[in-house]
Amino acid sequence: MIETQGLGKIYGRGLYALRGLNLTIDKGEFVFLTGPSGAGKSTLLRLLLLQETPTEGEVIVAGRNLSRLSRHEVQAYRRTVGFVFQDFKLIPTKTVFENVSFALRVLGTAVEQQRRRTYQVLKWVGLQHRLNSFPEELSGGEQQRVAIARALVNEPQLVLADEPTGNLDPDLSLEIMNLFREINAGGTTVVVATHDRELIKWVGRRVVQLEHGQLAGLAEAPK
């Protein structure tokens, strides 16, 4: 599903945020991405979404080289990816419902189905009672769950989640992970960047560890 070859990223100031990364993630895999602060986890995920362009190397997702996509193909590609941003990136001028249903709207889904599916996903994350709130009226954890709902609403082939439980209590975190596992069981590839060792232990999947922008260790977690 995902293959990176010698992937590197240098931001303006000249330091490698990511360097010579060769990584393969199979279709239907559930992978944790971990490593200290500033290791390059978010950078890797951003490159997978094409939010940033690589400085060197290639990213191949579902057999297609991301750097060769046209603008329209990029849009179409992003619509098949569910992304939970580390800073949520909710649209402040839209309500919870609008923020989530927007991802369906751009797919041209019928209005009635938009409504139904949005409600369903918000129920999964326990926010069905906050449909008409604006993001700034939510607690940190509630905002994070809206971001998760938006990533899952259009049944993506690939879910990329950047620290999706940083603002959630342990019980909720496990619930969210169960949600990810269910989606993963349906064939969706899931990549989760997290610092939460408990969570990684509990879910028990493959862990990719980054350090200073490079792979630090590849460990097959116990099944």
């Binding site: 979404l49 939010q51 603008r71 329209h72 990029v74 849009q75 179409a76 590609y77 992003r78 619509r79 098949t80 990816v81 992304f83 941003f85 990136k89 909710l90 649209i91 402040p92 001028t93 927007f102 991802a103 709207r105 751009v106 041209g108 938006r150």
Partner: protein, 295 residues
């Protein structure tokens, strides 16, 4: 179609939620257009005054005394046939004397002291305004001077040429100023829409990252610019119309006397439509620019 409906619905929601900020934007756009509209109205009216002045441009063709009627009629016909001539009036010797006495009452003595009427009969030829001061007039006067029965041709060329130059200059200046004001209004509308939407640029990036097509991302911004600009222009036209009504009521009589035009004239329908259309257009363009993504 769906995207269009979506764009309008989104834009409307956004303007409604923006509230005071949107009102400030519309107000500022209106101010820009009020300035432009006010200037256009003023220049339309000044133009009418100048037209009136030029309309009264006359060539006087003095006739020799005791001219046979058929020569006079032939001359009149000749004059009327000229393309640059708008009207011809015959002023007899008696009428010329009467006019002089009316115009210069303190010289009554002079007129009566003269044994016989010294004033010649004349044709007063009114020219088409657009020709007055032009080269064709020179041709006409030159041609007339040699004609049978014509004693003299007087045309206050110097004065008229000067007036024509001034009018032309004024028209040029007005066009330049109108152009500058138009640009200024456009610039203001664009800047205001851009500033209004700039704050929401983050949204565009977010939408792009969610994979929204450009039409979904930019549509609402463009429509929002369109609506802000159009609303501003409509407010402006309304304000100018009100100002016109007020001016016509309170200043009308005074001004009308001076400018010699029966009534102040409002912006033409065409100008109003152009203004409102311009508001919509500039707003939409500004929305397009403002919604241009960072990447």
């Amino acid at each position: 179609m769906t995207a269009l409906g979506y764009a309008f619905a989104e834009a409307w929601t956004s303007i409604r939620r923006a509230g005071r900020s949107a009102a400030v934007s519309i107000g500022t756009i209106a101010v820009a257009f009020i300035t432009l509209g006010g200037f256009l109205m003023a220049s339309v009216n000044v133009q009418r005054v100048l037209d009136r002045w030029l309309e009264s441009a006359e060539v006087s063709v003095y006739l020799v005394d005791e001219l046979p009627d058929e020569v006079r009629t032939a001359l009149e016909l000749h004059l009327r046939q000229q393309p640059i001539v708008a009207a011809v009036e015959f002023v007899s010797k008696e009428k010329a004397l009467a006019r002089f006495e009316a115009d210069f009452p303190e010289l009554q003595d002079v007129a009566t002291a003269v044994p016989q009427n010294p004033f010649p009969a004349a044709f007063e030829v009114r020219l088409r305004p657009e020709e007055a001061g032009g080269p064709d007039v020179d041709e006409l006067t030159a041609g007339l001077s040699g004609r049978d029965g014509v004693a003299d041709v007087r045309y206050d060329r110097r004065w008229l040429t000067r007036l024509t130059n001034v009018v032309r200059t004024a028209q040029l200046a007005a066009a330049v100023i109108a152009g500058v004001l138009m640009l200024g209004a456009g610039f203001t509308v664009a800047a205001v829409v851009r500033l209004s939407l700039h704050a929401r640029r983050g949204e565009i990036d977010i939408m792009q990252l969610v994979g929204a097509p450009f039409s979904y991302i930019r549509g609402p911004f463009i429509v929002e610019g369109l609506l802000l600009g159009g609303a501003g222009a409509i407010v402006a036209v309304a304000v100018v119309a009100l100002a016109y009504t007020a001016a016509a009521r309170w200043l009308g009589p005074d001004l009308a006397g001076f400018i010699g035009v029966a009534q102040l004239q409002f912006l033409g329908l065409r100008e109003a439509v152009v203004m409102v259309g311009g508001g919509f257009g500039v707003g939409a363009a500004a929305g397009t620019v403002a919604s241009r993504s960072a990447r």
